[in-house]
């Protein structure tokens, strides 16, 4: 295995450890974990059993190690609301979230990148300016405003689409649109500037002066080079697939991970919050790892540099 992948793996592991440590510290800072995780009206014997199981009477480093082992076994405790293991609650919500975020990601990539590249290739045209303006609007409008405005237009006034719930495919349309607009704007803007930068490079001028057809210049020289920074950005979007829909799920009453977070935070169902934190961090880290590997394969020059870093 190439060294840069090993280095990335080590750092991914370190990052997960840091997130776990963060959760541990925050949990300890917020008071007695037994009370906090089980809720204020937990029966006394449950609290005692909990203290016993998590070793809360041990020295802090022992508690930390015990905590890490529990987490490694995916034992995040029990939700105080539904009395089921927190991890199950989280995992059963993941498909609903992915049902929104994956189509949204496809829309972002499918519209954002071509729009940005097109704008870059036709700099100064009406289309270019249109893409710029739309992309600025896309990422300055907060998703909760956009979502509510869409509801107001399509659900309240026109009554074409439902405003919330998860009963039919139509219910997913507004959430997906709301989710993707911002990302389309960001990707379009970013792809445009990446492409413009690449088009200004000497090797593009060389390729053109060789008499290469413009189409080949774009496809063989410009796009592969512009892809490198774009992949990084896409990596973040992939990483956010599980966590990216907090606000939108709340607006549209979509029973996914994001809504679970908001409900659990509001109810202080901390076992669930903790499980969510770690699951989301793990998914982000894994996605970033994959993107880094893709990055390394896209741009062989970076391999050794990134490994040494």
């Amino acid at each position: 295995m190439p060294k840069f992948i090993l280095a990335k793996l080590a750092r991914a592991f370190l990052t997960i450890m840091m997130v776990m440590t963060f959760a541990f510290i925050v949990l300890r800072l917020s008071g007695d974990p037994a009370q906090v995780l089980l809720g204020p009206d937990a029966p006394l014997d449950a609290v005692i059993a909990f203290r016993e199981r998590w070793g809360l009477n041990d020295p802090i480093w022992k508690q930390y190690l015990a905590y890490l082992t529990q987490i490694m076994r995916l034992d995040f405790g029990v939700s105080m609301r539904s009395q089921t293991p927190a991890i199950n609650l989280v995992l059963e919500r993941v498909p609903a979230t992915l049902a929104l975020t994956i189509p949204a990601l496809i829309l972002k990539l499918g519209i954002g990148i071509p729009a940005g590249v097109y704008a870059a290739l036709h700099r100064g045209s009406l289309a270019d300016r249109g893409v710029i303006m739309l992309s600025i609007f896309g990422f300055t409008i907060p998703s909760f405003v956009l979502g509510l405005v869409l509801v107001l237009i399509f659900a309240v006034s026109l009554t074409w689409l439902p405003s919330g719930g998860q009963d039919t495919y139509w219910h997913a349309v507004l959430p997906i649109i709301t989710l993707s607009i911002g990302g389309i704007g960001i990707l379009a803007r970013f792809s445009r500037s990446a492409m413009i930068e690449v088009l200004g490079q000497p090797y593009i001028r060389t390729a053109m002066s060789k008499g290469l057809p413009w189409r080949d210049v774009v496809w063989k020289h410009a796009l592969p080079n512009a892809a490198v920074p774009i992949v990084t950005l896409v990596g973040f979007m992939v990483g956010a697939l599980i966590a990216g829909a907090v606000v939108v799920e709340s607006i549209f009453a979509w029973p996914g991970v994001g809504r679970l977070i908001v409900i659990s935070v509001a109810n202080r169902d901390l076992a669930v919050v903790q499980a969510l934190l770690l699951v989301i961090a793990a998914s982000m880290v894994i996605a970033n790892l994959l993107v880094d590997v893709a990055y390394g394969l896209l741009d062989p020059r970076l391999r050794s540099k990134r490994a040494a870093h």
């Binding site: 990052t15 840091m18 997130v19 973040f236 607006i251 202080r268 919050v273 880094d292």
Partner: protein, 286 residues
């Protein structure tokens, strides 16, 4: 740590700048109004924010005396809006400055000491990248409950890694061969090198980053408040006005539209201004 994502490439609005300096002027005027409103909120607010007038509940926009209408408890939307602008701005401003100071200091430390200090800073940035900020904030708020101070401090961590990366990179390049090593060679102490030489040289880049962070902090805070987990009643912020107005979306959309418009206009203005400033101020990131 993934590189380069934070700073979208410059030059994107070069054309825009030439064609429409008018837009920048509008943005500046809008921001001045917003700042004015935030500073003099107590004076220009027509009613106290929690004064209810049950006779005038859900009055539409344009009602004499209540030009932006009233909410479900008959409170004046304009007064609440003015107060919300102040609260949101104070949070965003405090948080942006906190994160700029914190991030820049860490970046300089990493550049000065290299070695393990640098590794620690990079690991912290990795950690920040691994946890979506929204999720981290939600977790912290869940454990500690929401308060104004906690909210500012929490938002103060937003985007610190961007400043750290910029400050570290620029400080290292200045120290490698450039003016900073020349001044070190003259016998200057690190404090002088960093504060008198490197900081002024990186300031414009940092200010441009602040114009990137500022609207994002506003969006983050309003998002949290919208979810009911940020600013708590009776205090009011733009996001929490939208959040409460949402329940009256069909009957009284003005409750939600006025703060939404303010959010969009403000973030848009700062973004436009930031891009324009970047082209103007900072020849180094061209």
């Amino acid at each position: 740590m993934s590189l380069a994502i934070a700073a979208p490439k410059p030059g994107i609005f070069t054309r825009l700048r030439l064609k429409v300096p008018f837009l920048i002027a509008v943005a500046i005027v809008w921001l001045l109004i917003i700042v004015f409103v935030a500073v003099f909120a107590d004076v220009i607010r027509p009613y106290p924010i929690s004064q209810m007038n049950l006779a005038h509940r859900l009055a539409p926009m344009g009602t004499p005396g209540y030009w932006l209408g009233t909410d479900e408890l008959g409170r004046d939307v304009l007064s609440r809006l003015i107060q919300s602008i102040r609260v949101s701005l104070v949070i965003a401003f405090g948080a942006t400055i906190l994160s700029a100071v914190f991030g820049t200091a860490l970046g300089f430390l990493a550049a000065q000491f290299r070695g393990w200090v640098e590794h620690v800073v990079v690991a912290m940035a990795d950690f920040q990248a691994a946890l979506p900020f929204m999720i981290m904030s939600l977790a912290v708020l869940a454990f500690f409950g929401s308060s104004m101070v906690l909210l500012v401090c929490l938002m103060g961590f937003y985007g610190w890694e961007r400043y750290a990366r910029i400050a570290r990179g620029l400080a290292i390049s200045a120290s490698a061969q450039g003016y900073a090593s020349a001044v070190v060679q003259l016998g200057a102490k690190p404090s002088r090198v960093y504060l008198r030489h490197i900081l002024p040289n990186v300031a414009s880049t940092l200010i441009v980053s602040m114009t990137l962070t500022f609207p994002e902090v506003i969006l983050m805070e309003s998002g949290l408040s919208f979810l009911g987990l940020g600013v708590q009643p009776p205090e009011s912020s733009l996001g929490n006005m939208v959040g409460f107005g949402r329940e009256y979306l069909t009957r009284a959309p003005w409750i939600m539209l006025a703060p939404s418009l303010v959010i969009v206009m403000t973030t848009l203005s700062i973004s436009l201004l930031g891009d324009w400033l970047r082209d103007r101020l900072d020849p180094t990131i061209r």
